[in-house]
Amino acid sequence: MIKRLHRQGGGDSAQGIGASLTRKEDERFMHGRGEYVPNIRMVGMVDVAFVRSPIAHGHIVGIEKPEGFEHAIYTLGDMEGVKPVVANSGLPGFKSSEQPVLASGKVRQVGEIIAMCVAATRAQAEDIAAQVFVDFEELPAVVDMIDARRDDSALVHEHWGDNVFLETFVDANPDVDLDAIRRDAPIRVHRKLRTARQSMAPMEGRGCVAHWDRRLSQLILHTSAQMPHITRTGLAQCLGLDEGQVRVIAPDVGGGFGYKGILLPEEVCCGWLAMQLEKPVRWIEDRREQLTANANCREHDYDITGYADRDGRLLAVECEAHVDSGAYSSYPFSACLEAAQIGSILPGPYKMERFRCRTWSVATNKPPILPYRGVARTGVCYAIETVMDAIALEAGIEPYEVRLRNLVEPHEMPYDNITRKHFDSGDYPEAVRRAMAAIDLSAVRARQRRGEPDGRRIGFGMSVFCEQGAHGTSVYHGWGIPMVPGYEPAVIRLTPDGVLEVRVGVHSHGQSMETTLAQIAHEVLGIDTDRVRIVLGDTGVTPYSTGTWGSRSIVMAGGAVGRASKELKERLLKIGAHLLGEPSSEVRWENGAVVGRQASRSLREIARTWYLAPQLLPSDVDPRGLEVSTSYQAKRDSGTFSYACHAVVVAVDPALGQTEILDYVIVEDGGVLINPMVVDGQVYGGAAQGIGTALYEAMPYSDDGQPLASTLADYILPGATEVPAIRIEHMETPAPYTEFGQKGIGESGAIGPPAALANAVNDALRGLGVRIDQLPVTPRLVVEALAKERERQARAMKGMPA
């Protein structure tokens, strides 16, 4: 029996902006009533299992179907009229490729789908798939992004002539003489850094159920997705339907982090099959598919040099960066977004005189890259913060001191940095100062000097960064990718009994928007959040939006809900004034009611009047009634800049190479926080993923392109013993350009940890003459580096060449 929820927290207790209101979403999740895609049941539904490529690169020579099951197996040749997935960027030089929805001719990654098998159950579909035999002519696999650029490399897309989706070049402040800096800078630090390929690994994988609705003449796709309207556009294009014939419904989504911001070939296949069979078709991604076919993020290579004066003040930074972008350009973000981003954000929150950065988005025989929480910022933070620590060492100052000497200062805000990023507001140095106080740096240094009885080595590390979120039209139109975020809509309306229905186009996959957007409505209208229903995820019912990505939802959808609520309030005031018989100028809105000299009319009463007693309405009442449809742009759409300082203390066991996090402090500024509890949760969760990036997560590939971590026993996700009790402190500098001063902060937690932890481990190991320049910092890396150093010292002592 579904019990009617009776929540505490209604009535007088705080529900507006700034309240740590407990969530409306919790009830159904905690009773196991979440409506995730795998829970959808439809009469006649059939299950799909895909035949996936066991090799990374090769020509398909033949496909043999098992006898008796030919009718249950589909290849690209069966899918007449279905177009490949194409996601081009408008950036000059971008090389176009097509991703067929089922491989034909060539396979370009292990796990690429080749055939679709359908049966009454998933197990039976897998039985059929196991009997499909694909004959290949294997080609050498392109596995390393640096090697991929060599002239003798095999080609992922032959018609390109090389393996580069896009090369970008940023040369900022060219009038400043870089050669002179290179020659004369007192401090020069150079690092070659590598980050591992990762899998975002939300707890729920992807999946869809597709069916054709005969009455509506619509393909309805239920899918675990972050951007339903974008999926609709891409799906319609691939299937040759108009968008009115496609409806995408994302129900409850079990985590996304960017993993579900994509149009999948599997979705196109299921959509097509549903129309063919006139039956609901289901495909649920299992963990092996998720790991082996879709480890699709984070793999960067940096060759970075920082130049500074004797005091550690930055003169210049130059860098050559590669991003392993995989075999195809994923829709809609494209293959080049992340590498191109590096060029514009590598300077971080710092001032400098000169900056040069060349990047390559490299095609390899691996899954197509997707923007994982933080996108390029995580790798960029690792690169620049490693350089800053190195500069501090050379200058003989503490890591935090070199930051303070280079951070943009509060009196300079808003600040246009060297790559013309417009930092909106904040006090970056204060975040650093507070973090150092919270971590008690002097006590940490004293402990380091004392040494540990168990022989472990204490290390301190930090990172500071700013996170651009909710950047809009002016930033994205130049990218030329298949979407450009524009005005963000909200459609709100009151029911006859005074409940506010809010429809927005963003979609929650854990961000608590059913609660936070209701808080915004409450802030403006005073309506109890229990009486605000947020409708998300269904293109048939919600207004068009590019969806949830890039930490944009609370700024954009929040702004839209705020604006719509304000407009609704004006209409309610007008009607209420009339019902009170007073001029509009004499009444005010208070606690969800129009209040006059002696009487008031509640929101509920006014709603009732509109719907059930229109004879009482003013003759010049706004005919748009109690439904407001509006859209929102920030005052300036260059994005909000939340920022944070991460400070961490570790203990490294030099014998086993294991790192334990002893203390972790985050001082963050997300502007005005709509719900501090929700923000904390986002930061904790992001930081846990960052810890995974720093210490645990890697999808290694063999020389022939085989992903080597195929289960969660091999691909190590941080658990409750790996993530410490992180301490968070808030600063709240309002954002100048947003509706309520809020900033996007969803990705922030995932950006800082790899830099802070790598710096901490290197701080711990410095006395042993060892430095780790890649992620994750595994025990094996530490042990091998220490062994190598001992060997070098032993040889040196014997007078032998190192």
Binding site: T22, M30, H31, P38, E204, V723, A725, I726
Partner: protein, 173 residues
């Protein structure tokens, strides 16, 4: 189902007797989700590592993804739906909500099963022990901070209630 090996299975699910037909290869998780329409139990890895599928079999937390349904014939199975009215589970739910111990909710049913096991089996657990006991339940959203705090809340409340009768007795002595 056209499997020649199909068997009749009799067991108790959420306190109700169930008779059904099942292929031996069907996991307990799939049996519950696909045949009994109990979708509260989520599947995360089908390797027994992530813990999302954890349910109660014969009174103890059990991985439903690597346990064949047929091997549970004669057992009493309780899914998250079967704990709707359980007092301890509801105390945990209130704590989970208060401490923001869930975001997307996918790991939550399994997490609650393990949490209930912790607070009943290990009443004196400290935070380190709580974290160790949670190592078999992965969450990708919360960073575990809220989950540990929620379990701590319930452990402390239960310990205080257990001590209270003695305190009352001492007060009147």
């Amino acid at each position: 189902m056209s499997d020649a090996f199909i068997k009749t299975i009799e067991l108790v699910v959420n306190r109700a007797p169930v008779v059904d037909r099942v292929e031996p290869r069907t996991s307990l998780a799939d049996f519950l989700r696909e045949q009994r329409m109990l979708c509260g139990t989520n599947i995360g890895c089908e390797q027994g590592v992530c813990g999302a599928c954890t349910i109660d079999v014969d009174g103890v937390p059990t991985r439903s993804c690597i346990t064949p349904a047929i091997s549970c014939a004669g057992s009493a199975v309780r899914t998250i739906e079967g704990f709707d009215d359980d007092a301890i589970m509801n105390e945990l739910r209130a704590a989970f909500s208060a401490e923001h111990a869930l975001q997307c909710g996918y790991c939550t049913p399994g997490m609650l099963m393990t949490a209930r096991d912790i607070v009943t089996r290990l009443p004196d657990a400290d935070d380190a022990r709580v974290r160790l006991e949670l190592s078999g339940n992965l969450c990708r959203c919360t960073g575990y901070v809220g989950i540990v705090r929620a379990i701590r809340r319930v452990l402390d409340a239960r310990r205080a209630r257990a001590a209270a009768p003695l305190a009352a007795a001492a007060a009147t002595a």
